[in-house]
Amino acid sequence: MLKTLLDNDRTFRYLLVAPAVFFILLIGLYPFIKLIIASFQNISLFDDIRSFQGLLNYERLLSDDRLWHSIVRTLLFTAVALPIELVLGYLLAVLFLEKIPFKAALISIILLPTIISPIVAGATWRLMLDQRFGPVNQIISWLAGTDVKLLWTVSASLVWPAILIAEVWQWTPFMFLLLYAALSNVDREQLEAAQIDGASWWMTFRRIVLPAIMPVMFIAVLIRALDLFRVFDLVWTMTQGGPGTATETLSIYAYQMAFREFEISYSAAIAFLVIVLLTVFVVAALRRVEVSR
């Protein structure tokens, strides 16, 4: 009876969600509909023609090499950066599970990179990697014994390693924090029992540790994968997509098309494609969680 008292106030419950729905409709759904309409039109900033031209923009997607290259680049970057962050984060978490003097202080310092804006992370690494005034080349010179001047953010073969270093530096601590929290909850008694039974490290990891940290790890990887797929800030600060289009990620290409080349309708088609791809990916990923739960 009391349950129904709480459950049964229609005006109240809709009143509570109304502002949220209003905001999301206004800034989420309205632009989205506008985007879909624009993608079938022929809008550019210079003439005010808004004629519909059917699927022309979508046909253009198929033959746009620059677009597909940017997608491949983004996926490759995600595929390289994510495992590195995951493994390094895991190793750090394992290390910090042990007794270490000044543990809390060290952890707070390690988390610094994750707190700062990606923009600042990019700027910081441009300072670090500057060919003349940066300490990285200086250290490499010491180790090599000769003067080394690597053009980190300029030369085509070094820009990706440079961005990768900054990315891994910024987000490994995030992985570390999540995995550390997850690992702290692994059942100690089970681990000890496994050790007494003489289970190998790999068996213990696969049978006890991995299942226990899986939910957290899955969400952490999903969050980072989505972030990496739309990476913009860090790359923009470090290279603006250059040299040429060497570091042009999907988001940067979309930005260039919309705000530099003013191909409004075409960029709308790109945006719609990206949203469709992401939706498919996320739905598939979340299905997996539901199943595994």
Partner: protein, 275 residues
């Protein structure tokens, strides 16, 4: 686990942990160090690792030129939008949890809004703002950050509110409290930790935004992220300005995180478990 915590093993672990910490901290140190270097030291070759004296001229330049207003703009937009998003999102979360409003569909629809990359909706929003005259205004950015953070707040607060025993609310209602009073006097205090943790991340998201600020600000409401990137010129790069402005932009984050640390660690792990 057998822990042999004595002697050299402990110190070996400490040495490794310290080394790793230094690697992660060094770039931050370098950024701060450059902001306190004199112009000669910034452009010294080989690079100077420790500034001879604390030279605050980089900061003085930022204050003299009025560039620091960008940090203020970030504070205003991120701060107000955080309060709004927390309010709107928490109410929605409460309704979704306690009344199952909209069933699963509403909550999934709300969280799916967060997935869309900002760049994808940037242009339609830009056009919308041009017609509403909201480009380059506080209201415009605040509305945008609020809207983009509502899904996150709703999703996170959903988890925290689920943890509050419904019996507490029921007995409060028997005592004659209205629904609003139950919300204010029972639910909000119970969800305090969750509110803080969520608010910190909401603030960070808004504070770190670059794409929207880049597109929607011209000269009046420039946030600090846009200002920092603006110093990168193709001909000359103003290292001292970049570093000083970055430090000013990062400082509020450090303060927020340091004061809220215990909520954050809990918030992160809970959010990850609850998803």
């Amino acid at each position: 686990m057998n822990r042999r915590d004595t002697g050299w093993r402990l110190w070996l672990r400490f040495a490794i942990a310290l080394g790793v910490t230094l690697i992660f901290a060094f770039p931050v140190y370098w950024l701060v160090a450059i902001s306190f270097k004199s112009p000669e030291e910034v452009y010294a070759y080989p690079p100077v690792w420790f500034p001879q004296q604390l030279d605050v001229s980089s900061y003085l330049t930022l204050f003299r030129d009025g560039d620091v207003v960008a940090v203020w703009n970030s504070l205003i937009t991120a701060g107000i939008s955080t309060v709004l998003a927390m309010l709107v999102g928490t109410l929605a979360a409460y309704s979704i949890v306690r009344f199952r409003t909209g069933g699963d569909h509403l909550s999934i629809w709300i969280i799916s809004q967060r997935m869309i990359p900002p760049i994808c909706v940037a242009f339609p929003i830009f056009l919308l703002y041009v017609s509403w005259n909201l480009v380059d205004s506080y209201v415009g950015l605040i509305m945008l950050y609020t809207a983009f953070n509502i899904p996150y707040v709703t999703w996170m607060m959903r988890g925290y509110i689920q943890d509050i025993p419904i019996e507490l609310e029921q007995s409060a209602m028997i005592d004659g409290l209205t629904r609003w009073q139950v919300l204010r006097k029972v639910v909000m205090p119970m969800a305090r930790g969750g509110l803080f943790a969520t608010a910190v991340f909401t603030f960070i998201f808004a504070w770190n935004d670059f794409i929207f600020a880049l597109i929607l600000s011209k000269s009046e409401v420039v946030t600090y992220t846009v200002k920092v990137t603006g110093y990168f010129g193709s001909q000359s790069t103003f290292w001292s300005k970049i570093s000083a402005m970055s430090v000013l932009g990062v400082l509020p984050m450090f303060v927020v995180v340091a004061t809220m640390q215990k909520f954050i660690v809990r918030g992160v792990s809970m959010g990850a478990v609850k998803g």
